[in-house]
Symmetry: C3
Subunit: 451 residues, 3 copies
């Protein structure tokens, strides 16, 4: 009990330190974007400066709406990765948003050594937080809240670095984050999981990720994902007018992915009933596959096909690859992020590469200069653009593996690695335990331990 109290105080102290740190850094570096206080763009009197003054106002409102929907998405996302520990996940979200504003600001918004934030920065911070939650999904249940906070502390700068390289350096088009969010998040988490592997502990829990939380969270989460994700995933398309393809493609992909889950599921799993959690996985997989290709697909049937393939890939991987990953590669994957984000993200990148190599001004029209500005102005051929897109995948995988390895090694240090028994207690210190036995995750774990 003394150790448990000490761990509680450690967590309290760490939170205090981190909150103080962000307040000090915010006070030093972060300012509101001065442009958002200039009301000029909405006033007809400053026509001279702005060629399309009347567009300023709705553009601003959209950025605001995006931040709103971004948060909606983020917290809907919680219900997938935070069933066992919503309180803990909310803690991570609260810290990551502040930290991501700082980390991304260093790369993007720095002018006269100040970081200027706007509603758009909140959307970027949301993207980052989504990747962190995916990573934590791979190790959930085997790390304590202190380790989760430290993991976020280390992963956020690497995410910002990867995003910066892809967007500003390689000029890769990845508006919905197939690479930056899904692939990076999944493989970072898997690498941490691999390094944290402890032979004795994990053997006992082999059945752990077979089941799925059969509860109301999956329903609420799936509903929120359908509502908020399409808008979120298209939030960083270069210009608003390029959005409808991204949004519609994502909707079509969601529909096909959901329907297609029913095709393979009864064949792969002869026993057991199809649950909403599987359809939530299909929703996420189709979002991962549409991240890059969403704004590039010019025909609805392409989106249907991609959604179809994503759900099949996700189900096959969950059936055949996950056991290999666990037994041969010694990599636990609590929430199945490899099936739901990792592989579909890579599939999405291949699809995006294919579409980039096929892009012509004929099909894309005015849209070409929005999606592939370098192709439109002639400084890259479509084949070159496709190569850069593929290079983005390699960079992302390398950075995720490298970063995950280092992070995992740090989390393994003796100071942080509480012994298994205490660890279990600690991870429950922050976990919402429903007294009516609704904490299915905990329930499963206990059953897992018994078996």
């Amino acid at each position: 009990m003394a150790e448990r109290a000490a761990a509680r105080l450690h967590l309290s102290g760490l939170c205090f330190f981190l909150q103080l740190l962000t307040i000090v850094l915010f006070a030093t570096f972060v300012r509101y974007n001065p442009e958002s206080s200039k009301l000029c763009s909405t006033e007809p009197s400053c026509n001279q400066k702005d060629p399309s003054p009347t567009l300023g106002y709705p553009r601003f409102r959209d950025a605001h709406l995006r931040a709103l929907l971004g948060f909606g998405f983020l917290l809907a996302f919680l219900s997938r990765y935070g069933v066992g520990s919503v309180a803990g996940s909310l803690l991570i979200v609260a810290f990551t948003i502040q930290w991501a504003i700082l980390a991304q600001g260093l790369f993007y918004f720095s002018q006269n050594s100040k970081i200027y934030v706007s509603t758009q920065s909140m959307v970027s911070a949301d993207f980052c937080t989504a990747a962190i939650l995916i990573s934590i999904g791979a190790v959930l249940g085997r790390v304590n809240p202190i380790q989760m906070l430290l993991m976020a502390l280390l992963e956020v700068p690497l995410f910002a670095c990867n995003e910066y390289i892809l967007r500003s350096f390689l000029m890769v088009s990845d508006s919905g984050g197939s690479l930056t969010i899904h692939t990076f998040g999944a493989y970072f988490g898997l690498m941490v999981s691999r390094v944290l592997h402890r032979p004795h502990k994990d053997k006992k829990k082999e059945q752990q990720d077979v089941g799925h939380q059969p509860d109301v969270f999956a329903v609420v989460g799936t509903i929120c994902l359908w509502i908020f994700w399409p808008s979120f995933a298209s939030a960083t398309t270069t210009q608003d007018s390029a959005e409808p393809w991204a949004v519609l493609n994502l909707y079509f992909s969601l529909a096909a992915s959901t329907l297609a889950t029913v095709i393979l599921w009864p064949i792969l799993y002869e026993e057991g009933t199809l649950q909403v959690a599987q359809l939530q996985d299909a929703t996420l997989a189709s979002a991962a596959v549409m991240g890059m290709a969403g704004e590039m697909l010019s025909t609805p049937f392409g989106a249907l096909t991609a959604g179809f393939l994503a759900s099949q890939l996700s189900l096959l991987s969950s059936r055949f690859l996950s056991p290999i990953l666990r037994s041969r590669l010694k990599t636990e994957d609590t929430c199945g992020v490899h099936n739901v984000h990792g592989l579909p993200g890579i599939l999405g990148t291949f699809l995006g590469t294919l579409l980039a190599s096929l892009a012509t001004a004929d099909v894309f029209g005015d849209r070409l200069e929005l999606v592939f500005p370098l192709v439109a102005d002639g400084s890259r051929t479509t084949a070159e653009q496709a190569q850069w897109q593929l290079l983005g995948l390699v960079v992302t995988l390398l950075l995720a593996a490298f970063g995950g390895g280092i992070t995992g090694a740090l989390l393994r240090t003796k100071m942080l690695r509480t012994p298994p028994e205490k660890n279990e207690i600690e991870s429950k210190a922050l976990r919402e335990v429903d007294e009516d036995g609704c904490d299915h995750q905990a329930g499963r774990e206990e059953r897992g331990t018994i078996v």
Copy 2:
């Protein structure tokens, strides 16, 4: 067990066939609306073509927002009709959206034998999906997933046909779908239920629809309906400027309907406690009654009165008409769609007819040409418009009864009609079963079987 496995494979095969079919049809016919890729309307340089260039951009954004909210509504709707089988209902939604795009496209969007989709098409597909879910609500628990999919396959074209006749032929004003969604969906489902009636089976389950799911889904569903429905129901008002009446009328109607439920409920049901599910019914009834009249009512107290009447009608029908429907007319109605959608939809049509006959340019102002274009340009008198509105009700009821009868007869064919015992197993194959006994629908059914 072998039969169960076979049924699972049949479902898998049917889904595969349907998904393949829609992909092929989409590849052949469906293209993105080329106008959504032309960025002209948002550029100040093309003033010549478009008289109000600056309005193009927000109009586009609104269509996007509607698709978003439409889906939100649709999935909120799920939580009413899908308590026992959210996974199954999601499957129906995923298929119906794709199928509705195709079916409605044949009537509306066909140019050079292509269907051009835009965000507005997604809203139309949502409307259709809502009607399908209402119909399935009448037979829920007595059809297996294969029958549900076939029912959607047949009902969608009939829905599109009815919508086309009402909107483009009879020029009926029905922006919120009192007729097209609520009345059509309810009576189609009831007709299917009547034809599917099996004397021995149903007698055992007579108590089935007395209770209501007393759980978190009703709360979440009601909240989502309050948030999303007003915006959704006004999504197809001719022009955005005509919306505020529709939205505000629906809000006032919701409030009055909720309060009025408490008036009659304690008198009708002397025992039992008022639950959120009853208030959700009141919410839906007030939405059904406001569907047609929403954009026509010019005074807030009219909306209060209509909401008041809708909830009283719904409660009285549930208390006195439902038993007659079940015992005399041999029509089961699992979710009470007759009380919640059917009768309030008809009431809404009568209200809309009354308002149409009273419409004057004096009260409506500029709005007249938006709500009743034919009255505004003088080609119809208000009395004639009212007659056409009423004719719309007749056409809808005939098409619903005819279509429901044929669909029910097809679903009764021996090939599909699994024996009762297996049927029960099958309908559970796709049903989310909460291990903590939260599947209240299943619970009720079992109790029903015991009694």
Copy 3:
């Protein structure tokens, strides 16, 4: 049982009377804003009247969006104050919205003795409903539905009166309602609770408000609050262009408040696990503190610090002040509204006063005339503005205490004060009882009664 039936009929009769009353009053006084039916502001042809015609349309859409989000917020709010009686709370919401339109209309919208409503009126009615729900949160479980309805009947006019004095008379800047919603609602409810105090009854229930509902409602409610509150709290900022500060400040404050809860919680409560309900409290406290200061804070780190302080204050008050309030001041506080709304609201007022006294045209730029119009046009100094802000706090506290006292005294009259046993039965007549034992509130109460 006869008494119970009588109480049910009393409630039914009261609802009937109230609904009839609002319908008659609406029919007499309330009309739709004629401007919302004039389509002029969206037509380029009426440039003459409106200097910025193109802005008319998006402004209108925003008001619509706000009404939507306002309702979203309101119903999300329910899940905090209505766990034990969602149906009862929905009833209060349905009545209060209608009543608030009338009461606020008397002060604000009255022209030729008509009240003109628009989407903006719905947002104002939402603000009022939020305050009523906060007040009811203080007495939840100790009043029956009839008393709740009467409390709303009396509090709504007082709320409208207080709002009118602060906004139009003292010219206090309080866009997010630190004073009008949070402080007024909390102290009104506490005063009612004090007057309703019954020594024998309440002693038995001393443990009542220690625990928290550890369930799905807290998660869903917190998610919805994060999604909808920032937009809602900034809904009445003078001009849309002034919003981003309010929204971003609230987001930053939410993040810091959530993280900071983990700092103090393990120290104050050595046993027990941190639950989502605590983080929901932190969310609400940070919203209360940002209500007034949201649009005044010009640096993000200020929002972080304010959120940090709000959650610490709320936790310390819940640990040390609540027991004193209960035992010494004989004031029960079922939902802890004093900690979550009362004190953070006062803290927010002090912060707003400080910021008002520091406001300079240098920092605020064009924004000054939006936030402090009287300072901008020179008719008040910043010191004077700060004094008026502080005076607003005094007025609010006096009106809340006075109104709460009178309301409590009325609710104590013998006619309404059902004996304890019946009271308990009655309050359950409207309460959703989950058959699987998920009605934690009821559960706690029963345990409380046993101890």
